[in-house]
Subunit: 148 residues, 4 copies
């Protein structure tokens, strides 16, 4: 899977880590740019409760542009169940002179609320920056869910 980082830049397939301790593994892309994968957030859950969460998204024509945009959804999954929540990320892949890829993203995090009257407070916003993960065992530790 890490061969993606040698062959073609800015195809999302492979393993990524973020500056705030998030990790994700992205599958091969379909012809239309659709991908799935799994996401692990250090920040969102206590250690014992960290399960890989499923992600699903689309990348713009990676064969046509060098710095493509993409978007994906993460369906959060915790062993103890808080109110359901969902994140969406949208971003672009940039490649620097050394060939290093960076995913600049912004995200929205939505928590389930009880009624439309509480809708106003349901959505958080933020940024996250990802770089290629070059260790070996991320796929291993996140396989349980990513393979489903």
């Amino acid at each position: 899977m890490s061969s993606a980082s040698f062959s073609q830049k800015c195809v999302l397939s492979g393993s990524w880590k973020s500056s705030v301790g998030c990790k994700m593994v992205v599958s091969e892309l379909s012809e239309a740019g659709v991908f799935s994968g799994s996401y692990l957030s250090a920040a969102m859950a206590p250690k014992a409760d960290r399960l890989p969460s499923r992600l699903h998204g689309i990348q713009h024509g990676a064969s046509l542009t060098e710095q493509p945009t993409f978007g994906f959804t993460v369906k959060w999954q915790f062993s103890e169940s808080p109110p359901d929540s969902m994140s969406v990320f949208v971003g672009q892949c940039f490649v620097d002179d050394q060939g290093e890829e960076t995913l600049q993203t912004m995200w929205l995090l939505r928590q389930e609320v009880g009624s439309p009257g509480a809708d106003w407070e349901a959505t958080r916003v933020g940024t996250n920056v990802f770089t290629r993960f070059k260790g070996q065992n991320m796929g291993e530790s996140m396989r349980s869910d990513g393979a489903r």
Copy 2:
């Protein structure tokens, strides 16, 4: 497809319209809540240039909660090609006393920019509210892409 609105509330499958003229058709959900579909924005493109754009997303366990959260990505597709752009939506389905379903969403719209230095201005944010589309021919007019 509109049978969804009679049987089970707040499963995203079916046809939806928004207050600002957007329309979308969502496929049957997989067991894991994954769906695809197509999206048509009246606002984003001149009339001649409106093509249905592919969407892809996940809904939280619709069988377990009555007002589930969801997220999806839209890969914009125009006949004339502006810089690539992507939207992500995150939201929750609410059902009122009459059984009417409303999708309250917030979105991010990302445009492709030339370099990391222009990243700061790449992302727009907004809200959109969807209700069931009860006309008959939305699936028809949007089938060309949704079927891919």
Copy 3:
């Protein structure tokens, strides 16, 4: 203060209410467009704990453009003290054919967090729409703080 609604459109001075039960009173604008005022949120606090909160902002040259943009900060103030929080609103005033003014706004709400590691979850985002308040006693009920 309500004379503003007869004389000149889209000067923020006066009383406004939002669709979700928020109310605000805005002072006369300075020559540079600076204003202050007070804000009351039905949603953010239990009834007993609702105090008017101070707001402070700037409007773009209301004498030069018919539908000016504006921005303001609200410093939340509750009788019982939760973590400090701040909101910022940015928007534009639109006038319809009947002369009705509408303030279309988006906001960010920031809560105080204990450390930079919790910064990612500190900010909420949403929209709010205001129209002129035509009742008589808003200024009265909100004067206690606005006058400071």
Copy 4:
């Protein structure tokens, strides 16, 4: 003005620079935490067109909390006049073990649009991080506007 960085941490008064080339000078705070100042954005305008823009905001009780939240509005001012635009920033000041202050902010940037139908695309969102500016002449170069 730079004496603020020696005496009391996380009072916004003084000079700040951001990672993307923005600079701001903030006045003394009033007792209620109100401040004004000027802001210079490297990113938003071509070099010839950079004028300091007025800012206005509020900080939460800096005397009571060590890492206070704040919010402010920037009224953009360019020598050539594009559509009016406004930014609002909301954030929190963090102090690390070495006493270095960092302002973590999120912002919304609103551009004037012609009608409510274009409102959906008017607002951008992003982040910005500021640290104390330790050079000497920022106040000088930005005084023209800040003094008004």
